[in-house]
């Protein structure tokens, strides 16, 4: 059941819209496929027209003629500005410091924005073997900011990670010499979370129809709430139209 369904939009749509709005004023975004891809393309049509997407597959300045179903979809290549090999992509674009925002998903996140995408259970004999880092570990360290987009529950918002794949604010503070400043926002199907100066996540905004109690119950630690807790403005007609007509007509990621 989705938080805002009775309001004429799905929780996934709210999550994508809220993520897209975070991209206002950003320039270069390192993006994987799925919800982040839709959020970025929505942002380009709304709050961030100059946003440039760098795909993990090495494609820069993509102009997809259809919704790409993977980050390696051929539609990303045709008509793009540049295709680089993966050494150049990771060494020069990402580690080289050209990426303003890196979008990460997560199976588990802790209060400091550290992320697990590797295993549930012990590493040697996991209950669930997850995909692993992919490029997430380097994105987490090298992108100027990191946006996390994920479904929220007590199983995903955890007191202690089973495995730290990609560092967030560690125990509260990142090493000064790191290029990136770490996670700046976590957008879930329930709300928007930001990070206090001490590196701990706090609830900044609840999506329409979501109660503070729901958010607390879906968090595996004593949730900190911002003084000025807001309600996320619902998706506009235009935002929903773009998602439903242009970006995800089959509702693969947003139904």
């Amino acid at each position: 059941m989705s938080a805002g369904a009775d309001r004429g939009f799905t929780a996934a749509e709210m999550m994508v819209v809220a993520s897209a709005r975070q991209l206002a004023g950003e320039r270069v975004c390192f993006v994987g496929v799925g919800p982040p891809n839709i959020a970025c393309n929505l942002a380009r049509r709304t709050v961030a027209p100059d946003l440039e997407l760098v795909y993990e597959s090495g494609v820069y300045g993509a102009r997809p003629a259809r919704l790409p179903l993977s980050i390696g979809d051929p539609t990303l290549v045709t008509g793009s500005t540049l295709v680089a090999g993966q050494f150049e992509l990771f060494a020069y674009f990402l580690q080289g410091g050209l990426v303003d925002v890196g979008f990460l998903g997560a199976s588990q996140v802790d209060r400091f924005g550290n992320i697990n995408t590797t295993v549930i259970g012990p590493y040697g004999r996991p209950a669930v073997r997850l995909p692993g880092s992919g490029g997430a570990c380097e994105i987490a360290i090298n992108a100027r900011k990191v946006f996390v987009i994920m479904r929220q529950s007590r199983r995903s918002f955890v007191e202690r990670l089973d495995f730290a794949t990609s560092p967030g604010h560690l125990g509260g503070r990142r090493p000064a010499h790191w290029p990136g400043r770490g996670p700046s926002v976590v957008v879930t199907d329930l709300g928007i979370y930001r990070f206090a100066p001490d590196g701990e996540m706090e609830l900044a905004s609840l999506h329409p129809g979501v109660s503070l109690r729901q958010a607390r119950e879906a968090t595996g630690w004593e949730l900190r709430v911002a003084q000025d807790l807001e309600e996320t403005p619902p998706p506009t007609e235009e935002e929903l139209r773009i998602i439903r007509e242009e970006l995800d007509p089959e509702g693969i990621y947003t139904r």
């Binding site: 993977s70 290549v77 295709v83 073997r129």
Partner: protein, 306 residues
């Protein structure tokens, strides 16, 4: 000048892929040579160590067929769909047998190929600090910069026994040209002991020579050239055919059930003599769906300097 290296996939795999080898069939979503993976299954190789950034469905099939004892990788999944179920069964429940994992991040894997290709004893990168990955994989170690105190991480060189690279076109010597997503095929090829180039089209060397900047792999490295049109399905070859996303979705269902998976292998791999039969079995309608429109690059002038 050099003799032709053109052979069949059967010959190439029989001669160049040996039990216990470390094998890299690279390609980031694009140009993944499923035809080679299927032939390796068909020839029942054993105890292979399979390297890829993204093991993908091809390695799920090879793992399910029992050719692999170990994976060296950085992202384990069915891109855009979900899990690799055969791999997960072996990792989570040793079903039917354990599978050894050696795990990095994408950039770590790329750097391993670069170090292998450049004969460097290690390659430095800024990933891994404050991650549990170095604990899970002791081959990822810190290294101090000789200029001051800065510490970064290092990965060791990866030198596969065999790299299998699929290209849009190659000549009989194995000079290969790729376009679209390049992944780290070039680095894997330079790092490998033996290289099999598989191509959509065998072209005259003159075609290669008319655009030398597009040549990714010199024939110098190449042991065998296999002409295998549509050899990447359900992956794709930019400009030749589309990714068959439908199959990636089907595989999720097929691979959840070990018996159904084995039945699929029987029908589509063991039961066929070659990739040509696979292409035919898939049928013209399916291929029609996967046919892209045209989008040609402009020619560039290299100039005649005589």
């Amino acid at each position: 000048m050099t003799a032709s290296k053109v052979t069949t996939m059967r010959e190439a795999v029989a001669e160049l892929v040996r039990d216990g080898d470390t094998v890299a069939i690279e390609g980031f979503t694009h140009l993944i040579c499923f035809a080679a993976g299927h032939e390796i299954i068909r020839q029942r190789r054993r105890d292979l160590t399979l390297c890829r950034l993204t093991p993908d469905v091809i390695y799920d099939q090879m793992v399910a067929a029992g050719v692999a004892r170990k994976l060296v990788f950085s992202w384990l999944g069915n891109p855009g769909v979900g899990s690799l179920h055969a791999v997960r069964r072996r990792v989570e429940r040793a079903d039917p047998e354990p599978l050894e994992l050696e795990e990095y991040s994408h950039f770590g894997m790329v750097c391993r190929y670069v170090a292998g290709a450049a004969r460097l004893p290690f390659f430095p990168l800024r990933s891994y600090e404050a991650s549990d990955l170095p604990r899970a994989n002791p081959r990822i170690v810190p290294v101090r910069s000789p200029y001051g105190d800065e510490v970064v991480y290092a990965v060791p060189p990866l030198k596969p026994d065999v790299a299998i690279v699929h290209a849009q076109r190659a000549d009989a010597e194995g000079n290969a040209q790729l376009w679209g997503i390049l992944g780290c095929q070039r680095e894997a090829a330079f790092a490998a002991e033996r290289v099999i180039v598989v191509c959509e089209e065998l072209v005259d060397s003159e075609v290669i020579r008319r655009d030398p900047n597009r040549t990714a792999i010199p024939g110098l490295l190449v042991s065998a050239v296999v002409v295998e049109p549509r050899g990447c399905h359900p992956s794709y070859a930019q400009g030749y055919y589309d990714r068959d996303n439908r199959f990636y979705l089907e595989w999720d269902r097929i691979s959840r059930d070990p018996e159904r998976l084995q039945a699929w292998l029987e029908e589509w791999v063991y039961g066929l003599a070659s990739h040509a039969e696979y292409v035919e079995k898939l049928g013209p309608e399916r291929w029609k769906e996967l046919e892209p429109g045209e989008a040609w690059s402009d020619p560039v002038n290299y100039g005649r300097y005589a």
